[in-house]
């Protein structure tokens, strides 16, 4: 079998740039907030108790920011197989936070591939693919942006 050429890889990577799938909306559920807060050991009462959250100036029970990963996995496509290389590594994540996500909010997630390039590293070819997910609430307020970088070796 002939190995895929650099030009073919670059063509494939370029074809990935742009929106991925349709926007998907999810309800921020109390059970999901509680489960995530316990999984990451965040025992701040704003994640469990409405009165405590309101006393701190929030509209209601606050989702810990790592709840973004629930919507990442259940609302968006996570493509990590590529026609070259052997393994995909989840390299890094960059988060921007804006309006807090509150229990009862409806969060719409949109996904796009914003960067996809081929590099030549010390150990050979390295594909770098950056996907961006934007999380917007029912009022149109931006809650968060999550940029995930995958490396394909």
């Amino acid at each position: 079998m002939t190995e895929i050429s650099d030009a073919e890889i670059e063509k494939h990577l370029a074809s990935l740039i742009g929106p991925v799938g349709e926007p998907v909306t999810a309800l921020v559920e109390f059970g999901a907030v509680r489960k995530m807060a316990l999984a990451i050991g965040d025992l701040d009462p704003i994640h469990f108790d409405e009165a405590a959250a309101k006393a701190r100036g929030y509209r209601g029970i606050v989702a810990p920011w790592p709840l973004l990963w629930l919507y990442f996995f259940t609302c968006t496509e996570y493509e990590h197989d590529f026609p070259f290389g052997k393994a995909t590594v989840h390299g890094q994540d960059e988060y921007e936070f804006h309006e807090p996500m509150i229990v009862g909010d409806r969060i719409t997630v949109t996904t796009a591939i914003t960067e996809a390039r081929l590099k030549h590293g010390r150990v050979g070819r390295l594909g770098q693919v950056v996907s961006e997910r934007r999380f917007v609430n029912q009022d149109g307020a931006l809650c968060a942006v999550l940029k995930t970088t995958l490396f394909r070796r």
């Binding site: 999901a32 509680r34 489960k35 995530m36 807060a37 316990l38 999984a39 990451i40 050991g41 965040d42 025992l43 701040d44 009462p45 994640h47 469990f48 108790d49 405590a52 701190r56 810990p64 920011w65 790592p66 709840l67 990963w69 629930l70 990442f72 996995f73 259940t74 996570y78 590594v89 989840h90 390299g91 890094q92 994540d93 960059e94 988060y95 921007e96 936070f97």
Partner: protein, 156 residues
């Protein structure tokens, strides 16, 4: 549902932070497969079998189960929110999955203030944060930016 015993972060203000200030190290672990399984449940994601099945992990050429990078980053992010106190609002967070965390590894969460500054009327604290394992290897370098209010009435 049983009531969770909550712990409110300390009350801290912008004036409480200075460049070079180090935070108390938070130690998690030994990390177990159960931590990963609980994370998988919270994310409703069980797709990557190597995160919870040693047989699959080894068949894929890995030394064993690797805990999820975003799980470790989430511990670090949580430590940042606790260090900065109840009034802080996170603005940005960054992390890199540099080295694996495996079952029975320790995770020591570190943080240090890089700078404090004001911009467009906002009081900001920038910090670097990272996780080391029991061998002192940095598995997860990261950084964060948070906004804090000034202490009411001024002064320290």
């Amino acid at each position: 549902m049983l009531k969770v015993k909550t712990i409110e972060p300390e009350e801290r203000w912008f004036e409480d932070f200075r460049e070079g200030q180090e935070f108390p190290v938070v130690t998690k672990g030994p990390m177990m497969v159960g931590h990963q399984v609980r994370w998988a449940g919270a994310c409703d994601n069980y797709e990557s079998e190597f995160h919870h099945d040693e047989y699959v992990a080894k068949a894929q050429g890995l030394p064993g189960i690797i805990l999820s990078g975003p799980l470790m980053a989430s511990y670090l992010l949580t430590a940042v929110t606790q260090w900065l106190g109840r009034h802080a609002r996170l603005v940005r967070f960054f992390d890199q999955n540099r080295g694996p965390t495996m079952p029975r590894d320790m995770a020591h969460l570190h943080g240090k203030v890089r700078r404090t500054y004001e911009q467009d009327g906002r009081c900001l604290v920038e910090l670097e944060c990272w996780i080391t394992n029991q061998r002192g290897e940095v598995t997860t370098p990261g950084s964060a930016l948070a906004e804090l209010p000034r202490r009411p009435g001024g002064g320290r």
